[in-house]
Amino acid sequence: MTQASAIQLDGLTKVFGRRKKIYAVRDVSLNVAPGQVYGFLGPNGAGKTTTIRMLLSLMTPSAGRLSVFGKDIHHDPTVLRRVGAHIEGAAFYPYLSGRRNLEVIGRINGFYDRERIETLLKQVGLSERARQRVRGYSLGMRQRLGLAAALVNSPDLLIMDEPTNGLDPAGIQEMREFMRELVDQDGKTVFFSSHLLSEVEQTCDRVAIINRGEIVREGAVKALLESGSSVRIEVASPVDAAAALGDAWQSRVAGGALVVDAPRAHVPRIVARLVERDIAVYEVVREKQTLEAFFLDVTHTASSDVSRMEIAHGR
């Protein structure tokens, strides 16, 4: 029997406004397999939070289907009991203590377990400050409490929106390790959005990039970076070398060397082709693309495409 996807989105769309329609999310389809850290990237206003809100039944989609662990959340919202969430900054009652806030969240949602709350407070490093009112907490402390709140129900799927906001570098590192532990040791699934691309690159197994409400790229982090990587080759004559490669690979001359857009696996074939054509190869350096460069590249390309489409449609 195949295991149901942790998250499955089919043609998810959210439109705001009646007369002047604004597509916050348009035809988004995603499939998040269980047991992985999945990153959801996008510039500000790309539709990340709106997608997460629909996923948690906080917002009603204008079109499309959402399912969690194989169950449509519209028809069976009880499946959300297997989900923990931390959305757009942790929100608490400022007049209650950290511990009391967790108790209230637990009791109202039907997950109250005093020992679990104490364990979580210890885990997120707030045991000593648990009696203090949340009003006096720093942003980082609120984020930690938010993480504890998201874990109160021992969820199988943890959904987090910008969880590292307000955390110091050590806190970010801890959060990253925590997310990986949840997946690697406890077999949970983590779906999170972030602006910190280096964090996503180091933490996630797969990512989806959303721009202007549409998914522009989706895949394993390694494969995506590989697809955008290039090779810098020092040769006697870069122009001749470019001609030798022909249309088989995209190439250009830069800084006296030949730069070929190709994944690592293609390097032996490229070198062989050049040697066949009697072109002396002095050095081959693979230029690994960072997720940041990849992200900027795809979001910029997508934006340009959309702008061209808007002009073409006279919008």
Binding site: R53, L56, E88, F92, V104, I105, R107, I108, G110, Y112
Partner: protein, 291 residues
């Protein structure tokens, strides 16, 4: 499960100490301080005892009902409207609905909040009436005054009146809570909800102004409409319980606007409660939680 839900909501609402003390607990606290002061003065001052003994003390059943007159009125309703507006709008202001909405059916969430606010107001108001009632009993003992007879008929009448006052408070609370919840859903701001909820409560009586203007200019008599507002019917019930007389409704000079019987007024209040609850639940179930 339900116990956890109610206890969680209670901790949340009652945990906002400043708001609950300022709007709700101030009634029993104020009553306790006032009665304590009167009793202390009576206990230690011969002159005060003499003066107090000159004025006749009400029988026990009247003094136990007296507290309700202090809160089951327009001011009491405005206070409840303001309190519930703060409680509801707080969820939007703090952004805390998102902690509960994904896991709970919205109808259950909202009904729990109504129930907890209703119970909180009732507990506070009942405490106040008991403090006043027992306070006067103690005072009667100090003054050596007769506090009235206790027999089956008197007790039965008293319990009936007391239960009716509780029902009135609960109805007024639910109506005010619906106004406040709707105001909070639309404004999502504590201050705005506070004013909108109080203004809606005042506006019930305020509709007499447009009704009068319409009569002045078009000679159309719409005064009977006012007798279907929650305010009028709550006052009418209060008047029927206290004096056995119907509340007279405003009317065009020389005419009489028919008032309602106790049963009709109760029915009108029940209809208002259900309609407002329905509208509030419908609106909440359709709302996107974006804060």
């Amino acid at each position: 499960m339900v116990g956890n839900l109610l206890l969680g909501e209670w901790r949340k609402v009652n945990g906002n100490r400043i708001t609950t003390i300022m709007f709700i607990w101030i009634a029993p606290i104020g009553a306790l301080m006032m009665m304590g002061l009167i009793i202390l003065i009576a206990a230690f001052s011969e002159e005060a005892r003499t003066n107090m003994a000159r004025g006749q003390l009400q029988p026990w059943n009247e003094t136990f009902l007296f507290g309700w007159l202090l809160v089951n009125n327009e001011i009491g309703r405005y206070i409840i409207a303001a309190f519930t507006a703060i409680v509801f709008a707080g969820e939007y202001q703090f952004g805390t609905w998102k902690n509960f909405v994904p896991y709970r059916r919205r109808t259950t969430l909202l009904l729990t909040k109504f129930a907890v606010i209703g119970v909180l107001v009732l507990v506070a108001w009942v405490s106040m009436t008991l403090i006043i009632g027992f306070g006067f009993l103690i005072l009667g003992q100090i003054l050596g005054a007769d506090s009235g007879a206790v027999n089956g008929d008197i007790l039965r009448d008293f319990l009936g009146d007391y239960a009716l006052q509780m029902a009135l408070t609960l109805s007024a609370t639910l109506i005010a809570a619906c106004y406040a919840a709707l105001a909070a859903m639309f404004t999502r701001s504590t201050i705005a909800s506070f004013f909108v909820a109080v203004i809606i409560s005042i506006a019930e009586t305020g509709i007499l102004l447009p009704i009068s203007i319409i009569y002045q200019f078009f000679r159309v008599n719409l005064f009977a409409l006012y007798t279907y507002t929650p305010s009028f019917n709550l006052f009418n019930i209060q008047s029927l319980v206290q004096s056995g007389r119907q509340m007279s409704a405003p009317a065009v000079p020389g005419t009489v606007t028919p008032s309602h019987s106790l049963e009709t007024s109760l029915l009108i209040i029940v209809i208002w409660v259900f309609v407002l609850l329905g509208v509030t639940l419908w609106r909440f179930n359709r709302q996107d939680i974006t804060t």
